[in-house]
Subunit: 245 residues, 2 copies
């Protein structure tokens, strides 16, 4: 099994530059470690119709969809009603979540707080081993909060729920080349090593390495062979180091 | 005039978590300062068919489209042929750019380097006041490089070319509230102040402020009135400060 994934980041604050998006990098690294291929990220505004359209487009096309943001208590938190709309479901208030909110906020519990107990009808709540807030899942769509510290804290639970696919193997060669100089060496590598994705990444402010070349694939053998073929073809004075060594 | 914009970030390295995306935040802040509304960001892989689809979807829907990445000399730099495909144009080699590359790289000039002189036929080259590499524009699509230092360095030239729209006004109130507590205060504000977008952003690790409320709009009067109405309704002990003061 080799699943694909997409992320939908919801929030005007990202699009106006007020908040630096910080969840995609963590999610991308986690999915890569899980062997799930993140194929698309969309950032959209706090607009229920737009969110619903994006959820529907992504869930039809990818095995797993993760949303980030818009699940808090305020008027600009519109992810739950938007996802409900995408699935053609009503928004309902979950009594167990209401109880948890009342236990937490006590006399201060407001209608705003109780909005956090609202879910698309039929959504599944997935509780982790600790007593943290559950993950919300509707079919292949997982709703995560946008606050980076909380988002990252939910990733282990998401991973436990999704389970891992066959892992990606990722090897790298650090060089002192300039990209134009080694472009020809890289040109045929992917064709000669099917299933290996070769990336070339210039590093402007790295005193040790000017270009990092990466070799990714599901099978270790072809990844190693592609990397070795590159190292053999690379003029030795341009070679810095391999990873893993 | 109030234009909309979208960004297309191209690169497997973002989707595998190898590289933290760093250009959207800078672009979003610049566009916001220019009064141009960034409405959508898409991150897609180094796949020419996918890039062409995304370019066509975005350029039809938004006034300005900015791409980031995939314009270097290596095999995984496929933005130029993909954008050419989106516009149904050929890829051609620009002789003036070839000369610049030869002047820069001298005897070391490789076919890889010369790939950087390739453009969709009919693309416009926009040179800045300094002698830096020109911006590439095809109709409403602007091709920017992915390396963050270079991307950011091109933004002033992009801004000079696009020109500013009427600016957004953005005011903020920092509070010691929790979001659920003030949700009701925020609920009707947008309806009462048409043209003002109100955002509520929890701050987990800020000792001074727990929730920042923002008021954005094209007209200063309604933005100020929405902010003042919120401050008046906010219990004084929850108020920290306003911005601007």
């Amino acid at each position: 099994m080799a699943r694909s994934a997409a992320a939908l980041v919801i929030g005007n604050e990202i699009l106006t530059g007020k908040v630096h998006e910080a969840n995609v990098a963590a999610l991308a690294a986690e999915l890569f470690a899980m062997g799930i291929a993140l194929r698309r990220v969309v950032v959209c505004p706090d607009d229920p119709a737009q969110i619903a359209d994006d959820v529907n487009a992504l869930r039809a096309r990818f095995d797993v969809v993760i949303t980030s943001g818009g699940v808090g208590p305020t008027h600009d938190d519109v992810t739950v009603p938007a996802v409900a709309r995408a699935f053609g479901r009503r928004v309902v208030r979950d009594e167990a979540l209401v109880e948890r909110l009342r236990a937490h906020f006590g006399d201060r519990t407001s209608e705003g707080h109780l909005r956090m107990a609202e879910l698309p009808e039929g959504a599944e709540l997935v509780a982790g081993p600790a007593s943290g807030w559950p993950l919300v899942r509707i079919e292949n769509v997982w709703l995560l909060p946008g606050v980076p510290e909380i988002f990252r804290a939910r990733l282990p639970l998401l991973r436990a729920q999704l389970g891992d696919d066959a892992p990606f193997h990722s090897h790298a060669v650090y060089t002192r080349a300039d990209e134009g100089e080694i472009a020809a060496l890289l040109e045929g590598l992917e064709a000669a090593h099917p299933g290996v994705s070769v990336g070339s990444y210039p590093r402007l402010n790295d005193p040790e390495c000017t270009v990092k070349i990466t070799f990714d694939g599901r099978e270790l053998g072809p990844v190693q062979r592609a990397r070795d073929a590159f190292v053999q073809a690379l003029p030795p004075n341009l070679f810095v180091r391999k990873e893993p060594a």
